[in-house]
Assembly symmetry: C2
């Protein structure tokens, strides 16, 4: 994991994810429209969280939308379909890096460079589940977000 914090073939990484998304939407019978595709692409281009208004700015440049709802609608669509996640802590969004499978994501957010890595928190959920069911609480969704410093940034700070 944490490929997000390392160098990799990013163009390929983006292209793959877009193709996968396309497929996923076709299978689900939902429309992967140009705006939605472009928004996902925008998110994929960075491994960090972008605010809705950042996304909107880029949409404007492409003539794909000009008002907040355009961005929010596309982002909501992506989140609902598991193609992106909302980072509560930042009021921002990242592309999902685990493919559109059902999972409980956990995020590592670098306070220095703002990169966001997605990791899966199986055990974390288990522990919480237990505690919740004891209380008779039925969980429908879990958010796990950690702030800190990623390796590259720490190295740089130490250097």
């Amino acid at each position: 994991m944490a490929r997000e914090f390392e160098h990799h073939d990013h163009e390929l990484c983006v292209a793959d994810a877009l193709a996968a998304a396309e497929n996923h939407c076709a299978n689900g019978g939902v429309q992967f429209t140009p705006v939605r595709r472009r928004v996902l692409e925008i998110l994929l281009e960075e491994h960090r969280a972008l605010g809705a208004y950042d996304v909107l700015d880029r949409l404007k440049e492409d003539g794909l939308g000009s008002q907040p709802p355009a961005a929010y609608r596309a982002l909501d669509f992506l989140v609902k379909n598991g193609l992106a996640h909302r980072i509560e802590r930042l009021n921002a969004f990242v592309a999902c890096t685990h493919g559109p499978t059902d999972h409980v994501p956990a995020f590592l957010i670098c306070e220095t460079c703002n990169a966001v890595a997605e990791t899966v928190s199986q055990t974390a959920l288990g522990a919480l589940d237990e505690s919740a069911s004891k209380a008779g609480f039925e969980i429908s969704q879990v958010v796990v977000e950690a702030r800190g410093i990623c390796a590259p940034c720490r190295d740089e700070a130490g250097a």
Copy 2:
């Protein structure tokens, strides 16, 4: 845990918490001013998250502040001193129910009645820690928030 979802002697519960907070502040050499005290009291009166502007409204009624910064400053103080927590998911705040000890809180948020229960997520942190350190990521703070339905609300819905 989950006392939040059950009936209990609430006045006592509030009084105890306020007394504890008073102590904690005295020990820490920080000022537990009237506004701060009142804000904590407001949060304690409900076992649910209140937005900064909800808090502000009540402060206004008491003549303890009239502008947003008044509420935000007090809330920031409480959070910084471990007397309250911010619920990212709701852009809102709850009083801490675990005393001002250092802990990684996890929250169970009822989508129906908006009650918020605080539970401690030892294991959740452990799992995440491991995954993070593998990536060389140094965690400074973790947010764990679950949405769902609390027992009373589910019973009511089922009834």
